[in-house]
Structure formats: C-alpha cells, structure tokens
C-alpha cells in the first residue's frame, strides 16, 4: 500500500510493523514526529507496546537497555544533543549484546546550536558498539527499521543497530512509501527470543564489574560480532529483497560503477541527488559512478576494495568533520584502502544543514576527475564555503 508520508512517519510505521514492545521516548527535533506517531499508534490501540515518557535521553537509553535485557523488543529514536546525552548508556548496551533499534535523525551537534542535517552527531557514536546504517529515502528508512531487527537479533550478531536518517531532508519530507503488509513483516521478522533475560525466577548477572582478566576477551567477543554482522547484513538484505522486491545491496550499494573511471563515495541523502548528477555527467560522456556507503559500522572495507579496484580516483563525501583535517568517512576510507596508490579526495559539504546542490556534487566529480587525470588537486576540499577555494 503506497502512502505519501514523511521519513519520521515511515520510521514509526516500521517500528509498528516490527512489533516493538517497549518504546522509551524523549522528544527532540527533528525526530519528535517519530515518537509522536508511535504514541498515537499505542494510544489508538494499533500498536501493542509500552510507551514510556522518560525525563532525559540518558534515561531513555537506560530504560531501553533494561527493557531489552528483560527480553522485550525495544525501539526508540533520538537526534543530535539527545544522542550525545545518552552517549554513556550507548556504551553499556553494545557489550551486553542487546539488540535495540534506535533511529537517529542526523542533526547538527551544537555548538553552535543548529537543528539542520549534519552527521557529526552519529559519527561521535561510531565506537560505541552500535551498528550504523545510513539511508537515502523514506522507503529505505522504513525497510531498514525492519531489517535492523533481523540483523540485531541474529544470534551471530546480537548488537544494537542505529539507522541514521538525514534530519529534515528525510524526517520532514513526504514522498510515496510502499508500506509492507503486517503478515509479510511477521513472516520475515519472528518474535525476539533471547536465551537469557532479566527474570527473577532464573537469576542472571548483567553488566557486573569485570576485572582486567576478562574485559579484553569481552571486547574481542564484541569485535567478533561486528565481523559476523557483515555476512548477516548481506544475507538479510537478500532475503528482504526476495520477499519485498527491494534490494539495497547490503553493506554498500553502487550506481553505474560497471565501467566507471571515477567514483564518489556518498553517505545519506546526498546519494540520492548524486544519482541524477551521475546520469547528467554520463550524458556528457564522463564515466562516473557512485558507491553508496550504507553501513558505517561495521565498515565495508572489503566491499570498497572490490568495487573501487578499477577506478582512477576516489572522491569521498563527508557531512561531518573530525578536526584532524577531513571527515569521518574519508578517514575510514583511507584506512580501508591503505596501500592502494590512487588519489583519494575528500569533499566536505552540507555541514550544519547547508543544502548540497547538484552544482556542488558536480564540482566534487570535477575535482575527482582531475585527480584521476593526474592533475594536482587538494586532498581536503570544503565545498561552498566562503573563504575556501575549491
């Protein structure tokens, strides 16, 4: 059934279709619509879930962690300062291997205060042990909530997942979304059946003090789950594609990369605009393509090496800055492609919610094409930034 809805509405429907049982919530723009829609679903009897209004995001993640340990399927959503406020609790959830799904609506992390799209908020949580997937439209946002539960609850993974959706660009934009049937989602996503839960009848110790004799093994175990997740993500993508007819590619997606001489690695909604830019540049004879980075954690290093083997230069788009020079995606791509002697050009744009126009994306391709031809190009480029030359 097609519905013309916002990204936030699509995410809320995704949570409902996934039969989330506990939703601890605290509002923050531009995510608030998600929990408002869920509150409506619960109030109207459409969704059988415990909706908990908490006093802060820190409490939200505490409640989410406890509810998940008690065996419930848990959903919540946050953004920016809210994600920062729950930072401490993010680190408790992952090593406990609790499969919570939380959508982050990407927003500028103040200061300065700003409500518009930027990736600095979720990038700050990249080492918290949560899987992260970035999406490009409202359909993918809904579908990834459902897929995220399958990935998170897979016994080979058992890690929390954070689908990231660009604030306003998706959260407050309506577009047609094919809403899956409940029975189809039910057959794709069985109920969550954890082995051990917080149960007074069967006591268990969760999150107890661990001496140095144990923590290293626990970290190694968590790191191993991230490795396993790569295979699981791919399997579940394929299963979802078979059932619902939408194939997102798994860890990454590619667009017109078959004979591409230059690739732009994109993340979030800029992927979507870039597809049109690629079509236009292709008409002009430029052999360009896109590698859409979907999962940032685990990082698809092997996939990138594979799809980028034939290109002469790689452009990397970042909507966040890590203050060592470039953006987060750039750092990780350079690390993943270590030893490969091709120009890797960082394109910073859209920070603080500045619109990423087609002209800016064309400029990214132009610079990357120049680098492929052996021309001297700056490694880190601040696009559409006064005082900078690109």
């Amino acid at each position: 059934m097609k519905k013309v809805i916002t990204g936030d509405h699509a995410v809320a429907i995704g949570a409902k279709l996934s039969r989330a049982e506990v939703v601890p919530a605290y509002p923050i723009t531009p995510q608030t619509l998600i929990i408002e829609h869920i509150a409506d679903f619960v109030n109207d009897g459409e969704m059988d879930a415990k909706f908990l209004t908490m006093e802060s995001e820190h409490s939200v993640m505490s409640a989410a962690t406890a509810a998940s340990a008690a065996g419930a399927r848990v959903f919540t959503a946050t953004s920016s300062q809210g994600l920062a406020f729950m930072h401490e609790m993010l680190y408790a959830t992952a090593p406990l291997r609790l499969p919570i799904v939380m959508v982050n609506a990407n927003r500028t992390l103040g200061g300065p205060p700003g409500i518009w799209c930027e990736h600095n908020d979720s990038m700050g949580a990249r080492d918290s042990g949560w899987l992260q997937v970035y999406v490009e439209d409202n359909q993918e946002a809904l579908d990834m909530v459902i897929q995220s539960y399958r990935i998170a609850e897979d016994k080979r993974v058992l890690l929390p997942v954070m689908p990231c959706i660009d604030g306003f660009v998706l959260t407050h934009t309506v577009e047609p979304v094919d809403v899956p049937q409940q029975q189809d989602v039910d057959s794709f996503l069985p109920p969550y059946m954890p082995d051990i839960t917080l149960d007074p009848a069967k006591p268990a110790l969760f999150n107890t003090l661990m001496l140095p004799e144990y923590i290293m093994e626990l970290r190694r175990q968590t790191a191993g789950a991230f490795e396993s997740a790569k295979k699981v993500i791919s399997e579940i993508n394929d299963e979802f594609a078979k059932k619902f007819g939408r194939d997102y590619g798994g860890m990454i997606d590619t667009y017109r990369m078959e004979d591409a001489e230059v690739a732009l690695i994109t993340i979030g909604t800029v992927t979507s605009t870039s597809r049109e830019v690629v079509d236009e540049l292709r008409k002009e004879g430029e052999k360009v393509g896109i590698v859409k980075l979907r999962f940032f954690r685990p990082f698809p290093a092997e996939d990138l090496k594979r799809v980028l083997s034939g290109v002469g230069a790689i452009g990397v788009f970042d909507r966040s800055i890590s203050y060592h020079g470039g953006g987060h995606v750039f750092n990780e791509v350079c690390s993943a492609l270590y030893g490969i002697t091709k120009p890797i050009i960082n394109h910073l744009a859209g920070i603080g919610g500045r619109d990423v126009t087609k002209e800016v994306i064309i400029k990214m391709f132009d610079l990357t094409l120049k680098a492929a031809k052996g021309e001297k190009v700056k490694e880190i480029n601040w696009h559409n930034t006064r005082g900078e030359t690109v």
């Binding site: 406990l96 006591p203 001496l211 144990y214 093994e217 626990l218």
Partner: protein, 299 residues
C-alpha cells in the same frame, strides 16, 4: 633497581606503605615509583602495591613480577596467596607475624624477617593499621633505606594528611618494629596450590558476559557464587553483641557492608554470620547503645 611487592588487606595501608617507601628513597637522592593494583576492592580484601627504587629515572610502567623483596602486612594472606611467587632467590620476605621466621612456612626456605606489627600498631596507634610498623621492619631487613629517612618520610606523609602527632606516632611505630625485627629463614614445607581461576577464551565467554548460575573448574560462577567467598580469615576483630543492651533498632543490619547480620524472625533476633564477617567494625560504630563490642579474632 630494587623492586618491592606489598601484600595487604584493604584498610591496612599497603598503598600508603608503598608510597611512603618511595618518598623515603627519594629523600636519599634516589628515584622511586609506587603504585597500587586495585581489584574489586573493599575493606579487608587482599590488595597489592608496588615500589621500585633506582638511582636513575624509572621508565617501566608494568607491575612487579620478580621482586627483590616481598612485604606481607597480614599473615592470614599466607593461607590463600603464594606471596613468594616470583621472588628472586636471594630476595627477602618481610612479614607481619607473631611467629619467628623459622616457624613461618612460606613453602620455600628463604631469607625472612618477621615482626608482630599488629601488636606494635595496636599499642602505639591504637588501630591494627600495620603499614608504618612493617616499613620499619623492611628497613632493618633490607638495608635499602635508612630508618631515619623512613621516619622523615612517614612524618611528612602521615603528618601532612593526619596531623603532626599522628605522623610522629607512626614514625615511632616504624622505629619500634625496626628494633623488634627478627631475621632468619622461613620453612619450606607446605605446597600452596595456585588458586584456580576461571579464564574463558573469548569464544567460551558467555555472550555479553551475562552469567547464569554455573560451575567451573575454579568453582561457582554467576548468581549465588559469592557463597564461596568466605571472609572470616580477613578479620582482626569480630563483633559480639550484648543482647541485653540491644534495642533491635536494626541499624547494624542496615549498615553491614557484607550483609552478614541476619534477622532470624520478624519478632526479631539478630545473628551474625561470621563466615562472611570481615571484622570491619561498622556495626559497632553505628550501634547507638554500644551493644556491639569488637573482640580480637586472632592475635
């Protein structure tokens, strides 16, 4: 480089002893470092502290595994911990004990100095805090540090924290122990089985480190496993309650950090489970009618 490992119990001041020794070494123009290793610490639990002394700057930031000297602040530790592990063959053990070295079985015949630091501390400091006394014994046994430097370091370190008088009394405790130290050789009869530890590989570790009731080679794990952790051996004192004076206000029951005071019935009588009483004295301290006396559990 001279390396020292201190074995004590939480509250006896092993960490302070290690630091004070370092300060005394610095007073003599050396370089020294001292550091603790804290496990799941609480009053009475076994603790480790380390001191390194050298003429030049010390860069090593690891624990001490092959000490030149081992200092034992509490001889009840000998039952469970192989205190001489890694000790250099020509090394020395300094031990707080009422026994002479010849009567102390360390599982190894080794140069040993003993002093009844608990009695010294109780007499001079009015508390079983043996760290300064044992340092005096250390000075006598090793000759690594002069007793005068130690007294100066004790006065400075303890005086600064606890007042000049306390500093002087602690220096006196060190001097007294120095003079009463007996040096000899330990016995080497007993075989101390190394304590078994559950050390799972990362693949064997339960997912997320979540533990259910279980048993391993090393004993119980998970909920309820603490029942194996009897702590009566830690206690220098144990509480004895005067039932006539007791008003059943339950403050002791509330404050006991180990949960060893049990309400037998609703009408109320209390029982102390001495297996798990570490003798900290919190109950006696909190009792508003002085119904609880701490009596010496071991001499």
């Amino acid at each position: 480089m001279f390396e020292v490992r201190f074995h004590g119990r939480g509250g006896q001041g092993a960490v302070m002893a290690a630091q004070t020794l370092a300060e005394a070494a610095v007073i003599e123009g050396n370089y020294a470092v001292a550091f603790p290793f804290f496990g799941a610490e609480r009053r009475g639990a076994p603790v480790l502290a380390f001191t390194r002394i050298d003429a030049k700057k010390i860069y090593s930031k690891t624990q001490v595994y092959a000490p030149d000297c081992v200092v034992v602040l509490d001889d009840s530790l000998l039952d469970t911990i192989d205190v001489v592990a890694g000790l250099k063959p020509q090394g020395t053990v300094v031990i707080n004990s009422k026994e002479k070295p010849e009567d102390i079985d360390l599982g190894k015949e080794i140069r040993t100095a003993s002093v009844n630091a608990t009695s010294v501390a109780l007499e001079i400091l009015k508390a079983p805090i043996t760290n300064t006394a044992i340092l005096g014994s250390f000075a006598k046994a090793t000759g690594i540090i002069k007793i005068e430097s130690l007294e100066e370091a004790i006065k400075s370190r303890f005086g600064e924290k606890l007042g000049e008088k306390v500093g002087e009394r602690n220096a006196l405790a060190a001097r007294t122990a120095y003079e009463n130290t007996v040096i000899g050789k330990s016995r080497g009869i007993k075989k101390l089985e190394p304590r078994k530890q559950w050390l799972p590989t990362y693949q064997e570790m339960p997912v997320g480190g979540v533990l259910v009731e279980g048993i391993t080679e090393a004993g119980l794990i998970g909920p309820g496993s603490f029942i194996e952790n009897k702590v009566y051996g830690w206690a220098t004192f144990r509480p004895v309650r005067d039932r006539e004076k007791c008003t059943m206000c339950l403050l002791c029951w509330f404050y006991c950090p180990e949960g060893t005071i049990v309400r037998i019935s609703d009408k109320g009588d209390l029982m102390t489970n001495y297996d798990y009483c570490k003798g900290c004295g919190v109950c006696a301290n909190e009792c508003p009618v002085d119904a609880i006396k701490m009596v010496r559990a071991r001499v």
